[in-house]
Symmetry: C2
Subunit: 427 residues, 2 copies
């Protein structure tokens, strides 16, 4: 077992019983304060732990990590140290902050490396190099295909043979809490003979998770499903904001472009694959059998409960989706083996999102397109209003966590509030 | 007129009369030698001019540019200085290296900043942040559409209303001369009932040009067609290598992925938009009229002659395409205005390729898919062999240059030799 995962451990720092961040999590993020530049951190309960300071105090002295790795806008350089080093840091943090006082004097120095989360700004943790979005939930692909092509042709012939994916826009990935401006663009209204320009009318979320590549590959190399997870550092929640009207008009024949590229939001804490080890479950049976390069051994799916709330400007909240990452038809190891099968090289900081994570029942669908079934089944809000898609002023909040045998490891949340479009404000 | 563009200027450095790199070009690139790290450079004739050394010698002293901008693996930091600074550098280089000896003593110090191009290694000039590929040649889109959907449905309904594009893979963009390994992947042979894994059998090139973004925009900002070119630093030749069999099987419904992401090749010299000013020409009439945000004034197309050679391992060469960048239906200003209309932010180093640049006649088609019309019209090579697609050992060479009133400004070439696939070599 990974040392830091030991369920017996307890931190001397206060942790609420329903916190996503017990001492067994130790995710990685980036924060800054009014007086300090961006630094790497981890989190226990609501305590933000400054890794630059821990390093400066000598607690990582034997690991010989340059200070610049920790005083940095992104965790990329840290991930690039390799899994062995990152594991050593995670184990050391666990050792420093648990309630055994036998070795280190971190307890006495706590005030020098700790902040309350309310007092700091949490930043985008990763400099995203390339971003890929998969389409790996069979329920989501079937729902969307049924709406647009009918139930007989819902899944394209390739869908069960390979994890369909496409390249997305890396520049516009933002951290939770960043306001999202409603995008403008071309749409072809149902009754129109020519396209129009204007604010998106069908603004949607997509409930996804994303993994972050922590090790590069060389061009021409292919990863096996067995090796793939060694290249995955950790995961975040991912809201793939979608402008359905823009997307529908633009996407043939080359796929989504401006309907997606205005923004994607991620949760700020990168939870390591190590921390999720305890929550592995078998994946769905893949039928027909996949080609050898996509076959895998072991449990590659993860049991992560997911939910989506819509919150009105007045603070009225409706949970519109409860889903689970374990539903994924294609797992991350298969996605990465497929991504590299043609020799495409990976960089540290590449982000791969899952595609919308829908379950079998309407209350587990991961987008308003599916939940409202193209607007035909509006969602009732507690204040008497209804939602077919997302309105200005609404905040979409996604949460994710795993729980088993009394241990809870979570991601916190990714939230984003919609601000109105500003058409024709051109530079 | 931009000072460095003055057609009267002549360099005191030797320049062949048919060189792409007279003193009026002054493109930017990156080179290294056996004893020096990567540095920024320009080129006149076959002379590589070390900009780090020019700066160190004090020739840019009034411009106050940090040395680190010039001793750098990429030109990104240089582009980020802004167009005014980059123009000042280009003008200064012109002033230093012309045959007027009235002001600077660069002539006396030439040996301290010059190399013969044979003695240095020319590197990838740009760290590509995001990469977008457009589909902006109406001839190419019509050819491909005709092959796959018939002549009646060749262009999708959106094609004449917006510059169709998609996100591509940035990590696998390589510099001219880099060998290209034939990719492996899934294909669905015409007579098969299940997909197979193996080396791509239908390996193709796509003749494209790409522009490089030199100034960032903020998320939520839209560029007008009028402002767009201020954000474009320069251009390169671009070979969008394509695995047609992999592409065909994977691309529905989310667009090209592994059929493209194994590699794209670019020419190493970034020719500034300034240097191409003299070669502006009107674009094609766009009918129906485009929406206001895509309308533009002035001449936004560029007259750049393009050609593609296939060279066998034995050195036998056949020119298979002569095209021109001026054929583009959608110009770069329109592409960038469209790209940002939804508020998608640009970064310094973003690369946007044109899509395959085909003309009206078969000898101007920009891909083997079109030239051989899906393999039905093989190209005869001078050695008696024929080509439907690209074979192992073949080198594809693309060249581009503008010529008018005795002035020639060119890009040199982008070449890539195909090396055999290595299936099942997995990490």
């Amino acid at each position: 077992m990974i040392k830091a995962n030991n369920p017996e451990l307890k931190s001397y720092l206060s942790v609420d019983k329903d916190s996503d961040f017990p001492i067994q999590n130790i995710p990685f993020g980036v924060f800054k304060t009014a007086t300090q530049p961006a630094r790497l951190c981890t989190r226990i309960g609501d305590h933000v732990i400054d890794l630059f300071s821990l390093n400066k105090l000598g607690f990582f002295i034997d690991l010989k990590i340059p200070a610049s790795v920790f005083e940095n806008d992104y965790i990329n350089d840290f991930m690039a140290l390799g899994k062995a080093q990152c594991r050593a840091v995670r184990d050391r943090i666990s050792e420093l902050l648990d309630n055994r006082k036998d070795k280190w004097n971190a307890h006495e120095l706590t005030e020098h490396f700790i902040h309350n989360i309310k007092d700091v700004e949490i930043l985008l943790p990763v400099k995203v190099t390339d971003y890929t979005d998969f389409y790996s939930s069979i329920e989501h692909a079937t729902n969307v295909g049924t709406m647009f092509r009918g139930v007989e042709n819902a899944l394209k012939p390739n869908w069960r043979h390979l994890p369909v994916g496409y390249h997305g826009r890396a520049s516009s990935i933002v951290v939770s809490g960043t306001p999202i401006k409603r995008p403008c663009g071309q749409q072809m209204p149902a009754d129109a003979t020519a396209p129009v320009y204007g604010p998106c009318r069908l603004l949607d979320f997509e409930l996804e998770m994303a993994f972050i590549v922590g090790q590069a590959t060389k061009q021409g190399e292919a990863l096996s499903t067995k090796a793939a997870e060694d290249y995955i550092f950790g995961m975040v929640l991912f809201n793939d904001w979608s402008a359905r009207d823009i997307q529908k008009w633009e996407y043939e024949p080359l796929g989504p472009f401006l309907g997606k590229s205005f923004a994607s939001s991620i949760s700020p804490w990168v939870v390591t694959l190590d921390a999720l080890e305890h929550f592995r479950v078998p994946g769905p049976v893949q039928e027909p059998a996949v080609l050898p390069y996509l076959q895998y051994e072991g449990h590659r799916n993860l049991d992560i409960h997911l939910e989506v709330d819509i919150q009105t400007p007045e603070g009225v909240v409706q949970t519109v989706c409860r889903s689970n990452f374990k539903y994924m038809y294609w797992n991350m190891a298969q996605q990465l083996a497929h991504h590299t099968v043609n020799g495409c090289n990976l960089n540290v900081g590449d982000m791969c999102a899952s595609g919308t994570i829908s379950g079998k029942t309407p209350d587990s669908y991961g987008s308003m397109l599916e939940i409202s079934w193209r607007g035909t089944k509006p969602v009732a809000m507690p204040d008497g209003t209804e939602r077919k898609f997302i309105q200005d002023g609404d905040t979409v909040i996604m949460r994710g966590m795993s729980e088993k045998d009394g241990l809870r490891i979570g991601f916190g949340e990714v939230s984003g509030a919609i601000i109105p479009a500003t058409p024709l404000v051109e530079v």
